[in-house]
Each structure stands twice: as C-alpha cells, then as structure tokens.
Symmetry: C2
Subunit: 264 residues, 2 copies
C-alpha cells in the first residue's frame, strides 16, 4: 500500500495495538474524536497526518480521507452496554459516512472493526460454558446470520451489512473483523470465554496488516488468536487473508501467567 | 389474538392489503404518520383506535402500544432510492423504537415488514435474467446473509437484526417478512423480476394473518405468492407459519391479463 492508510479511532485499544506493531509499516493518517497524546502517535507520523474529527461529520471525514488508499475503521462507541442513541449515531451512521466517503474517493481496501458482540447471543444457556472449552466442537465461521447480545452488537452487524452494500456498489474490498477479546500481554484472567476469544496485540496487528495486503472482495472473519479453546473458526481469516496467528491462550495459566515454554 | 393488534404504516399499500382482507378479523389499532382518510379505515375500527404518530416518537408509540398483544410493523420510508438520513431515522431508528416498546409491554408477536431489497444484490449480472425464470434453480431461503442493493435494503436488514436481538432478549416472537412485489389484481406487467417475486393482496393478508396466528420464535421468511417463477423459497413460510398461498403469477399473461382458467 503506497498511499496513506487512514486509521479511525486511532487512540483506542485496537488502534494502539495496530500502531504499536505497524507504526512504521504504512504512511498512516490518524483520526480520533479526541486529541491524541504524543505517546499514542508513532514517531513516523507527522502532525499534518493527525486529525481530530467525528466520523459522523462528513466534511471532516472528506478532508481526512482525500488521497487515501485504504481505511481501517475502528472509531465508534466501544461499550457493549452503550445506549441505542449512541450506537445509532457513532457506530451505524459513522460507519455509513466512512464507507460512503471511502467509496467516493476510490479507496481500495476498507477494514471494519466488527465485534464478537454481533454474534453474542449464540452463546445460549444450553451451550455455555461447554462451548468455551477445547473439547467442544461448536463453531461460528462468519457465514451465520448476526445474533447480537446487545445493541452495540446490533450496530456492528449493521456496519457489516453496510460494508456488503458498499462493496457490491463500488467494488471496494471490504473486510469485517469480528474482534474477540483483545488484551495486552496475556489472556483475560480466570475467564473461560475471554480465553476462548483472546486476541493478542501482535496477532491483532498482523491480522489488520493482512487486511491491508491481501486480495479479497467482501469478507467477514473472526479476529482471535489461535487458541485451543475456540468457538470462532479462523479458517476464513487464514484462507482469504493469509492470517497466521502466533499466540494461543492455552500457553497461559488461567491466572494469566505464561506456562514455562512461553515464559522462557 | 384476543388483544388489540397495532398496525403501523396502516395507510400504506401493505397495510391496506392486510386491512382489506382482515379488517374485521382483529381488534386493530392503526398508526400512521399521516391522518388516514376514512376509506382507509375499516368500519369496525373506532376513532379511538386510530393514531397519528411518528414511529420514532417513543412517547407517542407508548401511548398507541399500551395493552396491545401483537404488532405488525410496516411504517417506514418505503422508497428503494430513499436517502440514508431518511432510512436511518424512519426505518432503523423507528423499528428499534417499536421493538423496544413492544418488548416493554410484553407483546407476544411482532411481524416486521422487511423487503426483497435486503437481498437485492444477489441479483448479479451473471445470474440475471435467468434467475427470474421457471427453469432456474437459484433460491434464497432466508438463512443467507443480507446483501442489499440499496440503503433502503440496508435499513431493512438492520431491522431484521434488531428483531433477532429483541427476540433473544425478551422472548417475544419476531418474524421478518421479506416482502416481494405487492400489486393488486394482477402481477407486474412485462416485468420478469416482478412476476418472480409477485405477492398478491390476498396472499399478503393471509401471510400476515399467519404471522399473528402461528407459534414461532424468530423467523426470516419470503413474502411472495406461489409463483412458478421464483428465486425466493417459500418453504420456511409454509413450515414455520403455515403459509398457504393461493396465487401464482404464471396464471397471468405477461401483460397482466388473466389466463382463461383464472378469468372465468
């Protein structure tokens, strides 16, 4: 990707995981609703490439997206318990604005941060906690209909459908990454579900790197590390994007400490 | 259904098809954004059961929905070419308001008017016009991911996902009917696609009657007559709802005139 890559929600956790590993690999343009503190901006990013703007503001988005070759769209209300009015505006309307403006300027690739919450209600009482364990065979693979467990998840599913539409309409490559449980350093502690959908920082960065490098049309993939516990298939991410995760929550004890072969 | 049934968008075409056949079968409450002319209100409906309100106005919706046993939610911007701001507000936000208030008052059944436009982009150049013809085997059955051909279709797909969420959350039965091409009297003239997705007025009314009578959890079904030409399966509507359509666009000539066995 020779052209700049616009990263929205750059100050959030996913944005920081990406920039921490890929800060010098792309010509980044960073956009966030809040001014970014200097520790959140890679040294290679110039002040002119840092935008403070709301993704629902189409004039501001047009300014930031001009000349861009790809978009990694992470901005939105990240709270699973966020109220409807907020996800309607920030997540649904904001994603439509980004896709519309991206299509208008002929962006090649658009990676959208969807969420495990788009399918959270598949975790029914009769499936849990068995589905979080290594001997359970239940898998979601991205071809299933959304089944959100909250209105935040509804908003992410709507973003996926918007991505489908803009791909079909404009030919822009669109990938929706249903991000699992992103934590730095080690999997969530004493939390089977979080260990099943753990995504390490380096695997997260690698996955979005693949979203910027691979050739694809429209994809819905799961963003988790190669955990022994899993109920999300990563086959599609491997096949369509060349995702090759390095981490596995099984390499850590339940309390988050690494097992010996990892610690050394 | 002993309790009243709230019909939103009562003045529209689908609402009028339903009321024309089922006007005296339920205790209707009618809601529309515009005042309904008297010819659009069945004689059995009293003035107190007619509401002029916007479905995005939660106070007005609460007033209309109190004591209701079921909702048939048709209201929204019906234009396939409607701009984003309108479908975001009227279709997505409006459907969330209706589902939220329906769940709050313990409505048993909620039938949502989705649309063929939620899957319009499956009609790709290499599939058409063959897919509109009787010898073609391509079928959509409601289990496929949405693939809208316009932002109106995106809004309908979002309504379906909202329905999934509110069903899972509240236990309310929710059915999403992807309505085909509803025309009165005869199928669309000289229009293969419209003949393949024709829905007659009486089949439309019967289908929504089944949505109010059948026992189901969450369903996505196609609302078309039993046309020889079809690329939407009606198996799920038959199996889950007991839908038994009477009409078939093959009983009409391409110009809409009935073939002899129908005309007589």
């Amino acid at each position: 990707m020779d052209k700049p890559v616009l990263l929205t929600g750059a100050g959030g956790r996913v944005g920081q995981a990406i920039l921490g590993h890929l800060g010098d690999r792309y010509h980044w343009r960073l956009l966030d609703r809040e001014p970014l503190s200097s520790d959140k901006i890679p040294e290679t990013v110039s002040d002119a490439d840092v935008f403070v703007a709301d993704v629902t503001d189409d004039y501001a988005v047009r300014n930031a997206i001009d000349g861009v070759g790809a978009v990694v769209h992470l901005a939105g209300d990240p709270r699973p318990e966020a109220p409807w009015d907020s996800v309607l505006r920030n997540n649904i309307d904001g994603t439509q604005t980004m896709l519309e403006e991206a299509a208008n300027v002929g962006v090649e690739k658009f990676a959208f941060a969807s969420s495990n919450h788009a399918v959270g209600a598949y975790e029914t009482e009769d499936r849990t906690p068995q589905m979080y364990r290594t001997d359970d065979q239940f898998r979601l693979d991205g071809s299933e209909l959304p089944r959100p467990g909250n209105l935040y998840g509804v908003s992410k599913a709507a973003g996926e459908t918007l991505g489908r539409y803009y791909h079909d309409e404009s030919g822009m490559s669109v990938v929706c990454v249903r991000i699992g449980n992103l934590t730095r350093g080690h999997p969530p502690r004493n939390y089977e579900r979080g260990q099943a959908m753990w995504l390490s920082y380096r695997d997260c960065a690698h996955l979005f790197d693949r979203c910027l490098q691979a050739d694809y049309e429209y994809e819905v993939v799961y963003g988790i590390s190669d955990n022994d516990r899993k109920y999300y298939s990563i086959d599609r991410a491997r096949d369509a994007l060349g995702y090759d995760p390095q981490d596995n929550s099984a390499d850590y004890h339940a309390d988050g400490t690494p097992k010996e072969h990892i610690a050394e």
